[in-house]
Symmetry: C2
Subunit: 184 residues, 2 copies
Amino acid sequence: MLKETGIEGLSLRKLAEKTGVSRTAPYHHFKDKNQLLCAIAEQGFKHWQHNAEKIFNQTDLSLKEKYHQFFLGYIRYAADNPELYDLMFGRTIWKQNKATQNLRDVAYPSFNYQVQMTQDWQQQGLLPKGENTLRLSQVTWGTMHGIARLLIDGIYADQTHIDEMCECAVNLFTQGFSEVTDAI
Amino acid sequence: MLKETGIEGLSLRKLAEKTGVSRTAPYHHFKDKNQLLCAIAEQGFKHWQHNAEKIFNQTDLSLKEKYHQFFLGYIRYAADNPELYDLMFGRTIWKQNKATQNLRDVAYPSFNYQVQMTQDWQQQGLLPKGENTLRLSQVTWGTMHGIARLLIDGIYADQTHIDEMCECAVNLFTQGFSEVTDAI
DNA sequence: ATTACTATCTTGACACTGTCAACATAAGTT
DNA sequence: AACTTATGTTGACAGTGTCAAGATAGTAAT
């Protein structure tokens, strides 16, 4: 239903009706509409985490290629699941602290994972060592997030640009990376 | 009211009541709630455009500093007017083509302006010349947009990081820029 | 086996929303 | 003076999230 009608169109009543159950039945499983949304977002995070690890565990790729795949994978995941992505990283949940504790427990490690990865990439020379790790990961993630949002909301970019945009971004970030280390 | 209650909390009825007028009065000035939102967003674009030009017309700054100011100005504008920014670049309007023609006429030139600037920066050597201009401006704008959104939605970044994040981003993008040209 | 409890579902009701239709009134134009 | 337009009004409808009170069935405890 999220995929069909979008996050705004998702109504508890219609959802209940579609399930063949009365309007207030969902309230015995979720305190709130918000809690339902948080639960869905939670699943999204787990799914994405699984997805990311699969990319990182590919052994037949160079460091830069792996980063490229990660970047591309992130954008594709967002583009393929626009409504879910909006739920996971959108204001509906995060604005004004509406996120469930459960959701936080899944989301925050996912954020930290990103910082950890950035640190590794810096140490391996893929990303500039001079920059503060936290800032750098905020910026690089910000870039992925921003591109994802532009795509999802249909502003100024569309699906056919994905590959080229990602390549451009990765080039920018890894400018100083010497390809020699690839060969080792 | 947008600033107080946010974009979701803005209701036509409350707005009318606050203005001391009946519920359906607004409908004689705007066809829709959507049209009202578009009109507000339109003002936002004009305001921002004005803001951006003011930054570009500063003559006492080096090229890189000017870019830095632009970047910072964008993020600050978003952080200072979170609800307005959300309206201007959020899914409420753009998702599924709900934007008014009037809004489009103001917004699209604003997008093009960004591309034009990117081209200039490339020619002046501030940004990498090798990259496709459109892709590059999508990526750089994506970065600004993404950071803005993370800030606004309170994910993974907060207001105290603004300056450092912008500096980090500008450093990344202008890596190959020789400072010599600054002195000329 | 009876009792108590808990999980689940139900209908009724409330306040809120955007929006339409029908009607009123005042201002300006012909 | 008559007509048109801009602007306002109340009434009504369908939709929403959510609470309260009651129904039913399955499980655990005595």
